[in-house]
Every structure is written in C-alpha cells, then in structure tokens.
Amino acid sequence: MLRFSWVRFMAVLKKEFIHILRDRASLVMAVAMPIGMLLLFGYAVNTDVEHLPTVVWDQSQTSDSRDFIISMRNTQYLDPDDFVQGYGQIEGYLDSGKARAAVIIPPDFGKRLQGQEQAIVQVLVDGSDPTVARAVMSAVQMLGLNKSLQLQNQRLIAKGTAVVASTPLDIETRVWYNPDMKSKNFNIPALIGLILQNVIAMLTSFSMVREKERGTMEQMVVTPIRSLELLLGKLFPFVFIGFISLSLILATGIYWFGVVPLGSLPLLILLSTIFLFTILAIGLLISSVAKTQLQAMQMTFILILPSILLSGFIFPRETMPKLLQIMGGLLPLTYFLDIVRGIFLKGVGIKYLWQDTLILCGFAIMLLVIAAKKFKKNLD
C-alpha cells in the first residue's frame, strides 16, 4: 500500500497538464512573460552611455573649434547636434532635457591655441543621472587630455627644440570578457536567472495554492494518494514549462539580442536545471505558507526585490556592506548569476564554477527536503 504508485502519479500528472492547458492566463504567463520581461529589461536596463544629445555654443567659430567638435563626436559619447548662442538658450536645452550636456567654446579658443596659450573649454553635464554624468565627464576629460598631448607634441615639433615621436606616457587599456562593455552582455545572461525564478516560482505556488483554495485538497487527503505522488505529479509539469521558458529566453537572448554564450551550452542547460529545482522548491515553500493565490503572488513579489538588488544582478556585491552581502548570499540566484555570467561572458567551464554549482546543489536539496516535509505535514 505504501509503495509509490505510477497509476496515481500519472493521474495527477495528466490532470495538471489539463489545468495548465485550460488556464490561458498561466499559459500566457509561461510563454509571454519571459519574452516580455527579456525585451523590457534588455532594452530598458541599459547603463551604456552613448550618443547623448549635446548642445554647443561655439563662440570661436574657427577651424580649431570645429575640429574639436568633430573629435568630440568621434568619441561616440556625445552628439553635438544643436548649436546655440548664449547661456540662456543652453539653460533651456538642459532644463527641458533636450540636451544632457553642453559645451561652451570661448571666443579666444582658436587664437589661444595658435598662440601657444592655454585654451579653456567649459562642459556642463546634467547630473540627474550620476551614471551618465560620470561617463560623460570621464569621456570629455579623456578627450581633453588626448587633445592637449597632441597639441603639445605639435608645438614641440614646431619649435624645433626636440623631436619627440611619441608622448611620454601612453596608457593602453584593454577590457576583458566584455570588450565592448555593453551592459546587455552583462544583463541578459542574468535575466535568465531572474525571469526563471519569478515565472516558475509563481506558477508553481499557484498550482498548489489553487488546490487549497478550491477545497480539493480536503478531498485528496481522504483518498489513498501519497504526498510524494501528488508532489511529483504537480511539480513535473512545471519542470517542463521551466524548460520551455528557458529555451525561449536563451533563443531570444542569442538571436534577438545577439548575446551568445562563449562557454558550453549543455553545461549552461545542466546547471540551469539544478537552479530550476531550487525555484520549484521555493514555489512549493510559498504555497505551503500562502492560503490564497493573492498571498502567493505577494510573497513572490517580496522575493523579487532582494533578488534584483542583492544578488549582483545590477549592483556589484563586493562593494555592499557585510550584512547585505550575507543576505545576498542566502539567495540561490546569486550563485546562479555567477554561473550564467561565467559561461556567457568568460566562457569558463565547471573547473571554475564548481563552487557555485555545489552551493546551488546544496540549496536545491535543502529547499526540496524542507518543502516536501512541509507539504506532507500540510496534507496530513
């Protein structure tokens, strides 16, 4: 009697698939939500600073000033498209947000440059978004430094006092792993984890709580069904849905956003599966606490905020206060993000990821055991 019964397990499995197919809302959530979220985050969470609208007040109107404006455009950071006269107009542009930066070239710019003097260019940056402001400032300073080194060189050569073929110091920088420093390369792999977590945890907890809400759980208790049969029968369809979501996200990430994993795809899928099990367990835990679908929904949302803020999804964990680091360490997502980013951006294999993998396995086992125990207790 206490043996696991395939007939009972299959009965639950079949019923769950019918539920999912009949429930348009859940079906749409399983398919449309991953893609929708990916498109949203992929485009909106873009911390790259490029082509900022810039307004220019060129009081010099010389070939030197025009030259300077062109090199500014060449940095790709600033788009000096609007030209104005006077501070009043500049203020209007910045206030209305039509421009995020303003460049003011003084009347004596050309004369001073030609006359071996120091020319001063004023740059105003809209600091309401600090990330943007910092990026623009460093870009402009870089530009100024390069320009002055170049000029210095020309002057020295012109003077004939020394023949300097190159600048005294040339710092060559090179970026590893994400050479273009595109934030989508950083964000999209991480989104796999975040989206899987939200969609699957919510759907799983819904399916369990629904049974409580309808009162069918009460009926289940009186039948010979065992908690393990019910549990597996209910979880299995969501493993299936989880894989569909995962493939959708991967396909959209690769073919739409062009973010291709450098590492092994099978390894990525294998480790994602382990992560999927921890999420199923989280969904199960939520359902053992929540009494209604609304509560389950709210609890899933409680999980989302720390997942975004503490897991390293947006902010680096290294700079966080110790307490927040520890809290982030309690989220399975934190370790999964290390894994997906490692595979996508660095192309590393299990040799470098075994620690994260081990912790993730630990989470999966621990959460599943607790969830199954709680579930059984609820049933009894």
């Binding site: 009972r8 009965a11 019923k15 019918i18």
Partner: protein, 257 residues
C-alpha cells in the same frame, strides 16, 4: 453481526481544546447512519477520524476491519468520501474528473473504463460527461461528486453534509440513490442538517459539544423523549443539554435564532 464501523471512546484534542470527547458507536454493514447536531458540534471531526485522516488522541476505532490508527491507507482505499464542497475540478470536464479519481484509486485500463461506465450509467451522467464541471448546476455537481466517490466500489460511503445548498428535487434524487446503494449492501455514514433526511436513516446519532448524546433508530429516539418529530427532538436536546447557550434564551422566548 458484521460491523462496518466500531468506535470505542474516541477522543480528539487540538491542543487544549477537546473537539470530540468519548464517542462510542457501532454501525452494522449495509445500514445508513445519520449524524445530526449543531454546527461546530464535532460531526466533521468524528467523520475525519473514521476516514483515517485524523488520528484520535485516545480511544479505538475499527473501520471495515482495519484500525484507523495503524491502517489508514487500507481504509482510504475502501471508502468513498464526499463533502458539501463537492471537491471537483471546475476546469475539468465530468469525464476528466472521473478519469482523475479513477487514477487516484489505482484503477487502470479496462478496469477503469468498466467502472467509469458503471457509475455513469448508475448516476445517469451520460449526457454530461463532455461538459465542464464549472457549467453544471449544484445538483449535477453533487451527483458527479458522488460518482467520483463510487468509482472504486467502496464498501463504506462517508458523506459530510452532502446536500447542503442543493434544491429539494436534487436532494430527493440523491437520497433515492443512497437508499438504493444501501439496499445493495453499502454502508453509509452521513451528516446532515435536514430532518427529513435524518428520518430516513436506519440509525441516528445526535452530536453535541463533541459528545454523542443520543443514539438509536429515529423511531426509538422520538419515543424515548416523547416527541412527535425530529425537529422538536433536535430543539429539545439543544435546550436540555446547553441551557446556558445564548441561542437557547432566544428559543425560550419563542424566537428561532
């Protein structure tokens, strides 16, 4: 006499609260026993102990020859259970609900099909099988729930207020079915608030404050307290047993709280 249920001094406590205190009764196979009593008296708790879902804190109970404490799985496989909620899946059709419960009772293949046909025929569900349960009326839902509870040929049928909120015609059809099943040898344990239903049971138990305060055939019970009908008997017991209940003060004043 072949006993379907044999309860001896069942006690159930939830923490410090005693829900059922010392319930003893015996039910011969093939008979119908009705539980009546106010809401919250402990009828459902007794029923759940009989089903092997709740473990009694004290006392003994044997159901169909199996001990409720040690062999609940054996009992669950042999009883049919149905409650006032008609625990069906609204988004599944009648047929899919039947399939699911057949699977839950480990019926498969030919056996499952044969049993399904039998209950569909029996309950008269033929035209309803492709319909979604959500689109059925209360009376039909009740019959489908009964069909699900009968799929595995249970020896004991346990019904917890099965007719609450169902129209009189559907109630009549339902009870005709119950009486037929009992005639064919099925034992039925049912709780109800309807005195006409209670009157048609073979045995009646009056549950009050967690105790079984009166037990017998409906005729015996009426005679014992010299009442003409069960309604009067019900009110007599409530007044007699709990004179300090605020509801009774209103009863004495002539109102019907």
């Amino acid at each position: 006499m072949n006993l379907a249920i044999d309860c001896q001094g069942l006690i159930k406590r939830f923490g410090t609260y005693t829900a059922v205190q010392g319930v003893t009764f015996q039910l011969p196979a093939g008979s119908i026993m009705g539980f009546v009593g106010p809401n919250g008296a402990g009828k459902t708790t007794i029923i759940r102990m009989v089903c092997g879902v709740l473990v009694p804190t004290e006392g003994q109970a044997t159901v169909l020859g199996y001990d409720v404490k040690t062999q609940p799985e054996e009992i669950k496989q042999r009883i049919g259970y149905m409650s006032q909620k008609f625990s069906l899946y609204d988004d599944l059709t009648v047929n899919e609900n039947l399939d699911f419960y057949a699977g839950v009772y480990s019926l498969k293949g030919k056996m499952a099909r044969a049993q399904k046909e039998r209950v569909i025929e029996r309950i008269g569900l033929n035209e309803r099988t492709p319909q979604l349960v959500a689109s059925l009326s209360g009376g039909w839902k009740q019959r489908v729930a009964l069909a699900c509870a009968l799929l595995h040929n249970p020896q004991l049928l346990v019904l917890d207020e099965p007719t609450a909120g169902v129209d009189p015609v559907s109630r009549r059809i339902f009870w005709d079915l119950i009486h037929q099943l009992a005639q064919e040898g099925m034992t039925v344990l049912v709780s109800t608030h309807y005195m006409d239903e209670a009157a048609s049971c073979d045995y009646l138990g009056f549950v009050f404050y967690g105790r079984l305060i009166a037990l017998g055939t409906p005729e015996e019970m009426k005679k014992r307290e010299e009442k003409d009908n069960l309604d009067d008997l019900f009110i007599y017991y409530v007044e007699h047993e709990a004179s300090d209940d605020p509801r009774n003060l209103r009863l004495k004043k002539g109102g019907r709280g």
